[in-house]
Amino acid sequence: MKLNHIDFGQLLAAAPDHFNVLGWIVLLPLLGAIINGIWGRRIGRQGVYIAAISAVGMSFLLSILAFAALLKAGNHAAAAALAEGHHHHPLASLSYRAWDWFIAPLGPSAVEMIPVRYVVDPLSGVMLLVVTGVGTLIHVYSAGYMSHDPGYARFFAYLNLFIFAMLNLILGDSLVTMFLGWEGVGLASYLLIGFWYTNNDYATAGRKAFIVNRIGDAGLILGMTILAWKGGSYQFETLRQHLTEDTFINALHERTGLGHFLVDAIPGLSSSASLGTFVGDIDFSWGGAACLLLFIGCCGKSAQFPLYVWLPDAMAGPTPVSALIHAATMVTAGIYLLCRLSFLYTHFSTVLSIIALVGAFTALFAATIAVTQVELKKVLAYSTVSQLGFMFMGCGVGAFSAGFFHVFTHAFFKACLFLGAGAVMHACGDRQDIRQLGGLKKYLPKITAAMGMATLAIIGTPFTSGFFSKDEILFRALSNPFAPTVGKIVYATGLAAATLTAFYMTRMMIIAFDGEGPRYHDPNKVAHAHGHDDHGHGHGDPNALPSEHGVDMTLMIVPVIILAVLALVTGFLGLPHFVFHHEGILPTFLEPAVADVLQTRSAEVVAHVHSMEGVSMVGGVLSWIIGTGAAIWVYKLQKGEPADKLAKSVPGLYRLVFDKWRVDELYDATILRLTRGAAIFAAGFDRYAIDGLVNLTGTVTVGLGRMVKPIQTGAIQVYGAFVAVGTLGLVIWATLMPAVSIAYRPGAAGPAILEASGGPGYTYRWAFYDPDPRPEANLLDQRCPVARATEALTRAAAAPGAEAPTATTQRSESITTPRCVAVDATNAFGRHVLARTLVLPQGADQPAANPPGR
């Protein structure tokens, strides 16, 4: 390769911020979105398809290029570090600074230039590959899935827009650019959930997603601003630098007002030993508050309890959207943000424990719901929530790269599952109730095989990707070094959730794919004579048997199979430490970019942590065996009878779980009712108070108009009389009132020009004199009583060597030493009307200009 002859790393190190490949990676999907959004109807389906796929595909190819360059730069940096005798892994990154965006205030007294700058480092590099890679596959898939939809161009425009926003999110180097992408993906998600907006439920689901995300975003914005204020920057790299400096660390650990109040109000809170060992060190600090608020934002975006409610409803959107946005990429943005800021989070162990507990609870909670669901996409949606909980567990026990590893593997197997489910729906006339399906393995063998592979991964079958990534999280939970109790609770909860995951996924696969044949298919109703040879059927005859023939199905099956293979093998990028005594490839690669609580612990602690891995793995394998075995026993061997019996024996509990623990209903009864009440009050306030005010202004205006109406006589000379009186007033004002300004413009080389200007008829007297020794006498630019200026002028005249006061309207003076000037103005009628004194500091910049004196 020619590339090897170029010292790539040196080249890139010589020109930082100029790696403009990143700019193209971000820009291409935007171009695709613009083309499809504006000319989508004109260029036809073929054109739309080519524009969209080439945009994302090129972006993916450039991402591979960028990743290769990053590896090169990383090798270069590592070699350079080794040459200097460092053995740590240096952080390599490539960046592209597009332009300076705006100057953001950081706090009361500091500002920072926010550039539009894209950075690829190990963390964003991996994410970049996932987003553009999975994105490309899903674009290909969508061409088949959406082939009959009238909104074809709109769909691809939104999808490209999503990719653009997501790339902003992951490549943006500051919280601000990340936030831009964060909101952009939210917008794209909203547009795509409500893609079939004529269906009211779907549109409502879109709005729900948007609004629930707003709640999280409020926390995100607050967290960002606190972080910028106390941490001194919006930019990740600067923040990382600041976190090594004592001033900023101390500022972040400063206790908040609320913290002071709580500590004062609850005795023993700060020194409570039991609580401390439970969740780690408690400090009610600004940094902790920022971390917690940012986590609330992550909860919204990544569907964690209690803000997860939008994600199951988001399945209203087309299935490729569910796969891309609501499983593989966007919903993992929260974990991505935590990993980005992992250097910050490792300082706040209390917050980490909260994150771990929330994640564990969500994982278990969503898994219980998934057990009872009967729709393919609903099962997968709750499964996604549950898996996201696992990822937060990983971050919460301080193993950010473990959490991110799960993001990585989950992207493949969950995208594969969703796409498979979409293919099933496409083949079976948009049916997704698993009770109506069944026996699909005969008709859809490739999809069944692919989904089976992905299921093996998600349920944690040994040596699949899900097994490795889940194991990494669980063992780090078990061996949590800073909050052991929380760690054990999280571990136990995680095991339970993993068991349930194995159970519900196996259940779904058995019911939908095993058995005699599709239950919806009634042989008596269908005319078998036709309908099988035309491609893309399933939409043609809703009762036809599914098949894998046709262009649409081929376009859909290829991505599914690619993803399934990836789901099986990607786990080998993160092989466990205890077997090979070496960190996996991915964790090693991520290490410089993603912090880990272990990085600051002693070697004994690290050794102890790794010693737990084997124990943890036994639990993981056991949960897999129990969950899968139970599901096979219940649904395969007993044909679902035990489950029915159980449901009948505790009907109340079953209904509760089936209704998703009725969390939505709880929100309806509490938050929504409160909001509605507030809205009714606000409407009344608007109607009577605000409108009343508006009407009042109208009434007042009309009344005033009535009052002044008689003045409008129509006689021009009366109008002229008004003008004349006004002129007289103006003349008197200009003559009798002083209008004087003194400007002191420091010249480039020192001489100053003093100007007094005002209406004609004034006489000015100037006097320059050396500063008065009395400090209060030399106030800068004082308006003073006439008597005082007269006194100053007298004193100036009396001073040895001083010039006498001179009477001119203008004066230029070269001032080399600090001097005072006194000015008094006399109007045309001989009255002293104005006096000012001004101290001219030598060579100083002030005062630049003074307001006119009155």
């Binding site: 004349a724 009186v725 002129t727 007289l728 045309a828």
Partner: protein, 185 residues
């Protein structure tokens, strides 16, 4: 006191007094012809003041345009209107108009008192100041475009004056809805 100053003082005093008196005559006389004569004297006295300010070219323009054209035009119109040009008494509604006029006079006097003290340094006349040659060079040099536009303005004024003053006998006045030769008042 140098003789030049005496001459200056005398010329200024004479023409200034004449200008004020003729201006008062212009606005106060009852018979329009007398007003026109007042205006005539006024523009003549101003021409005298222009001479004292070395504005020779403008003195000529003043005499030609004002005395030769504007005042004559006024006299023509007064003759055309005949006795009707003398408007009836001004007593009705005198108060607001009186207030306006008084305010204007007061403002003028006030301002005069203020500006009379302005004494900027007098600079020597550049050679040929105010003569036809120097002013003409500037008129056809830097002021070329406005000069040409002034000719456009005058053409427009001629056309406009013709259009407005043209008689509309036999046509119906648009504003009153009556035949325009019938008196509406």
């Amino acid at each position: 006191m140098p003789p030049a100053s005496i001459q200056q003082l005398a010329a200024f005093s004479f023409f200034a007094a004449l200008a004020v008196v003729s201006a008062l005559a212009t606005v106060m006389m009852r018979n329009p012809i007398r007003n026109a004569v007042g205006l005539f004297v006024h523009v003549l006295s101003l021409a005298g003041l222009y001479v004292s300010l070395s504005a020779h070219f403008l003195t000529a323009v003043q005499l030609i345009v004002y005395v030769g054209a504007v005042v004559v035009l006024f006299v023509f119109v007064i003759m055309l209107l005949g006795p009707a040009s003398e408007a009836p008494s001004d007593t009705a509604g005198r108060l607001p108009r009186g207030i306006g006029a008084a305010a204007m006079i007061a403002a003028g006097v006030f301002l005069a008192r203020v500006v009379i003290d302005l004494r900027p340094e007098r600079v020597a006349n550049p050679p040929g100041f105010g003569t036809i040659e120097t002013v003409g060079r500037e008129l056809f040099g830097p002021a070329m475009i406005p000069f040409e536009m002034a000719s456009v303005l005058l053409t427009a004024a001629i056309v406009g004056a013709f259009a407005v003053a043209r008689s509309h006998h036999g046509k119906v006045s648009m504003s009153t809805g009556e035949p325009s030769d019938g008196s509406s008042r």
